[in-house]
Amino acid sequence: MPWLTAVIFLPLIGVPVLLLWRGMTDAQARWLALVLMVADLIVAFGVLGAFDAALSGYQLVEQVDWVASVGLSYLVGIDGFSVWLVVLTAFMFPVGLIASWGTTHRVRAFMALSLLLETVVIGSFCALDLLLFFVFFEALLVPMFLIIGVWGSARRVYASLKFFLYTMLGSAFILVSTLYLWFQTSEQLGRGSFDIRQMEQLSLDVSVQRWLFVAFFVGFAVKVPIFPLHTWLPDAHTEAPTKGSIVLAALLLKAGPYGILRFNLDLFPEASKYFADAIGVLAVIGIVYGAVVAMMQSDVKRLVAYSSVSHMGFVILGIFTLTTEGMSGAVVQMVNHGLSTGLLFFAIGMLYERTHTREMGEMGGLARVTPWIAATFLVATLSSIGLPGLNNFVGEFLVILGAFGADRWLGALAVTGVVLGAVYMLWAYQRTFQGPSTERSRNLTDMLPREWAAVVPVVAAMLVIGVYPKVVLERVNPTTDGAVRWVDSVEIDQAGLPGGLRAEVQPEYRPPAGAVAASGAEEVAP
């Protein structure tokens, strides 16, 4: 069964139906989208079942020629880096949909865009063809742009344009580098290809590798976002509708670190090693900076947006510890951040629907009127400040452990983020839910059944990862192990790479069929 194709394109089925059938009622549109998303979640669990936890290479690979003349193909596959992101995506989309269930403005279009977005998000996590990835990666922007721009709040146009242009600019670097790599494959391997399994066999000069690394890194860093390229995020989060915020925080932000894991480490191991320290410093600055700025926000959505900057700093730090602990921690942390920040935005969305404000100063005492919303927010808060027993702790601890192995001081500084996190999140909780009730907080309804239906699975997932993280880690570890060995096998300043080295470094790693034949090694060899 073509699991990945199914999981990618299943949601897309609903798009033409929603767009063409004009007589559809809003309720029907919502239910159609929800059913498709839940079905996709089931397929995603099928993917999880078909995934072999013991392997470190790409699995469930499907390849169909697309534009054969330039070596562009529909090539999808997953490994430990992406499998959980696929599941997370399929998991958070229905949650986000429920959060925006009450939307009444152009419902059919909203649902169609949501489904389209799900397809491209999952697609970008599965693509192994660099250009295919780029297509998905760029296609993310369009539905997101529309969701923010049409269904957002007051400054939605500014925010959506900023989001679009900023990330588009970053992607331009990736496109240029992609083309450069294609020419290299055509030169060195005899046949142009966008298949990253071919690309990683390229032999590149050290300086070229570093330039390409920087180009890719900048492109992905905007998406992460890494300090100082983060300022689009608070605006986009603040203005987006709840569903947009959830998808943005839980999934789109993951495309950045995922790209770094998938492409930067894989294609430019020397440069990854060379820049690791500098990026580690940048990540730690982001952790502390994001936390301090978050503390000063009065708009609860902006606060959470800055907390994302801080948390994503942990992810980047974990990746560039270049240790299995740190990198596995980073991958887990990506999933964790998706869950906990998604839940935070969900809770904020519930509040916004009821109080119509995002200003914490105008709320207060809500725990009395809406105890379960308060509880939801508190659980998400506790998770996000790394309370052991909940999901984030596992990732954060592994990242700190890895960072300590790499550089004591970075690890120590990263821990200050843990303290600051408690300060701003609990302060936010206090301002929003504690203290005397305000005028706005009278006569609000507590959580509705549909909201329960969304919150309970997320909290359950958070508990499972916190208490029994092995489910996640055992599928991630072989891949991170392989990636760490891959990067470790290269010395700094080592020019180029002998073709096929990756298979030596990682015996269980299987190069694609025909890779050697297509590499043209035989022809070049005397």
Partner: protein
């Protein structure tokens, strides 16, 4: 039964879950459910303890592996519990005293609309506390450690409508988190140096099956690890310099103060130090740090307690002082002494807090000692309980506190630390003074509150009676001598401390100790109950001294000054940097592009004529160019 040790924390956890979701439906029954859960945990603990006692002394150590928790790369950590004398001692205190305080809280909280939530949090606390004391590795211990912090946060802020309670809760969590972050670093360092987080390999038992991959720490590394762990302990146990949260934590309901902020959670730091004593012993610096922190905290808090007129804050400082004594004992290597004081303190301090709860109940939440007085007429039973607790703490023989404290103070002398002994004796004298003070102020002397106090119902007295019995006899039973029952029970885990020989005989030391305690109580009676001293005028006569004492030497204000303004300044500064410079640069680029594009419309007039002219001129120019070139 030993393998079923995981049931002990599981029972209160189940109680917590049930109370969280069914609390509203259960109503007042929630309390009984919570109490039953902790009571059952106590029963299981007793059963496990009996099984442990059935083993021979050196074999009293049993590890129960549940499952692998986190694994990545070389890092592996299990969810596993450890049954040994030390963990069982702690578990007995937590479940035993915990069950009694739960029982008391059933009466105390019955009129609160959110009683279900209260018992959910309360049970959850017991569950996490049990995880803390039963854990077999540092990371699982940290789970409990943070978990009790969370419950402390939730319970201090239980009446969250009061801004003071909400702020106090946050302050407690954040302050302890500073210590916790250091502790987390310490745990990471433990792994870096030992290659394991399990107590066995790290603390050198060598009985654990897992292999040690690290080379073992140098003395510098051991010092770093121990000091970082100490920072965690100091935060949780409210010792100098991270103590500022404890007095504010009294905003929580009184049973919370009794259980969390007196009997159990705040003693977790002592447990950590005692548990990790092998680590601390690797470094002279670290042990000395424990000793100094403990001694300073003991004296500092004793002085601060004397300045308080808020009954619960006085007791809070007293707790800090008592825990200081425990740290002091641990710093001298007298771990059994620290544990004995921990156990006895749990009894009498819980008793004192719960009795003050009775007083608050009887006086409509009056907490100011200046508006009490002469209560023994209205509340004779409560007065008795308070007197027992206070005299026990003061060290009047043969009550529990006498033995516990006397061993520690005596040990200081016998191990050749004369200066420490003098200071500890002063601390002991001050302890007796500060605890006799609220006793006399509240229950003796002239009546200063017009309203008639009513005695608490029997349900609330029953647990107090048990605690009072403990406060009387626990010292006698468990620690009649320094190498008493408890010390010998703990010997497999902690070893026996060996005091050196000294000039003064033990009898002389004991005599000094008794004289000091009695003198202090007498002095307290003279000042605060005899009516011959106008203590109420003291703040006017000595405003400076009174201010220093009642504000606990202004450390809180000092921290606020140190942290608040610079912290807010940094935050505001970075925020404006973010808005103006980081984001400003982005917007600037966008505006520049826009400005540049504004030049283009000049050419786009909309008049076809101009376009045609431009076209023509262009054509002419082109022709001229081509013509001239050829």
């Amino acid at each position: 039964m030993l393998d079923a040790v995981w049931v002990i924390p599981a029972l209160p956890l189940a109680g917590a879950v049930a109370n969280l979701f069914l609390g509203r439906r259960l109503g007042t029954k929630a309390g009984w459910l919570g109490t039953a859960a902790v009571g059952a945990a106590f029963a299981v603990t007793v059963a496990v303890l009996l099984d442990l006692l059935a083993l021979a002394g050196p074999e009293r150590q049993h590890i129960v592996d549940l499952y692998e928790w986190i694994a990545a790369g070389d890092f592996r950590v299990q969810v596993s519990f450890l049954v040994d004398p030390l963990s069982m001692t702690m578990a007995m205190v937590v479940t035993g005293v915990g069950a009694l305080i739960h029982l008391y809280a059933v009466g105390y909280m019955e009129h609160d609309p959110r009683v279900g939530r209260f018992f959910a949090y309360f049970n959850l606390f017991v569950a996490f506390m049990l995880v803390l004391v039963l854990a077999d590795n540092y990371l699982l211990l940290y789970v409990g450690w943070e978990g009790v912090g969370l419950c402390s946060y939730l319970l201090i802020g239980f009446w969250f409508e009061r801004p003071a309670a909400a702020s106090a809760a946050k302050k407690a969590f954040v302050t302890t988190r500073i210590g916790d972050a250091a502790m987390l670093l310490g745990i990471v360092l433990v792994f870096v140096h030992f290659g394991s987080l399990e107590f066995g390999p790290v603390l050198g038992w060598g009985t654990s099956p897992s292999t040690v991959t690290g080379a073992g720490p140098s003395e510098g590394a051991a010092t770093a690890i121990a000091l970082l762990l100490l920072a965690g302990a100091v935060g949780k146990s409210a010792q100098l310099p991270l103590h500022v949260w404890l007095p504010d934590a009294m905003e929580g309901p009184t049973p919370v103060s009794a259980l969390i902020h007196a009997a159990t959670m705040v003693t977790a730091g002592v447990y950590l130090v005692v548990r990790s004593h092998a680590l601390f012993e690797m470094s002279e610096v670290a042990l000395t740090a424990v000793l100094v922190v403990g001694l300073l905290s003991a004296i500092y808090a004793a002085l601060a307690s004397i300045g308080q007129f808020d009954l619960k804050r006085a007791l809070a400082y007293s707790t800090m002082s008592q825990i200081g004594f425990m740290f002091f004992a641990a710093g001298m290597g007298f771990y059994a002494g620290a544990m004995l004081l921990l156990v006895c303190h749990a009894f009498y301090k819980a008793l004192l807090f719960l009795t003050s709860g009775n007083v608050m109940h009887g006086l409509d939440d009056e907490i100011d000692l200046r508006r009490m007085g002469g209560l023994k007429a209205d509340m004779p039973v409560s007065a008795t309980w308070f007197a027992i607790g206070a005299l026990s703490l003061a060290g009047i023989p043969p009550l529990a506190g006498f033995f516990a404290k006397d061993h520690i103070v005596g040990f200081a002398y016998l191990s050749g630390r004369e200066l420490a002994w003098v200071l500890a004796s002063i601390g002991a004298f001050l302890s007796a003074l500060y605890i006799a003070r609220p006793l006399f102020l509240a229950f003796f002397g002239a009546r200063r509150n017009p309203s008639h106090a009513h005695e608490a119902p029997w349900r609330m007295h029953a647990p107090l009676a048990v605690l009072a019995a403990g406060a009387v006899v626990s010292g006698l039973l468990l620690g009649f001598r320094a190498e008493g029952v408890l010390a010998r029970f703990l010997e497999p885990a902690l070893g026996l401390a060996e005091p050196g020989h000294a000039d003064l005989s033990e009898a002389v030391l004991i005599a000094i100790s008794i004289v000091l305690a009695v003198a202090a109580v007498g002095l307290a009676w003279f000042v605060w109950a005899s009516g011959r001293v106008d203590w109420e005028a003291f703040p006017e006569r000595q405003p400076e001294l009174a201010g220093w004492l009642s504000n606990a030497f202004y450390l809180n204000a000092f921290y606020a000054w140190l942290v608040r303004a610079p912290g807010m300044g940094l935050g505001r500064g970075l925020r404006s940097v973010d808005d103006r410079i980081v984001d400003g640069a982005v917007n600037e680029v966008a505006e520049d592009v826009e400005r540049a594009s504004r030049l283009a419309p000049v050419l786009q007039s909309g008049f076809v004529r101009s376009y045609a002219l431009a076209f023509l001129l262009g054509a002419v120019a082109l022709l001229l160019f081509l013509g001239l070139r050829s």
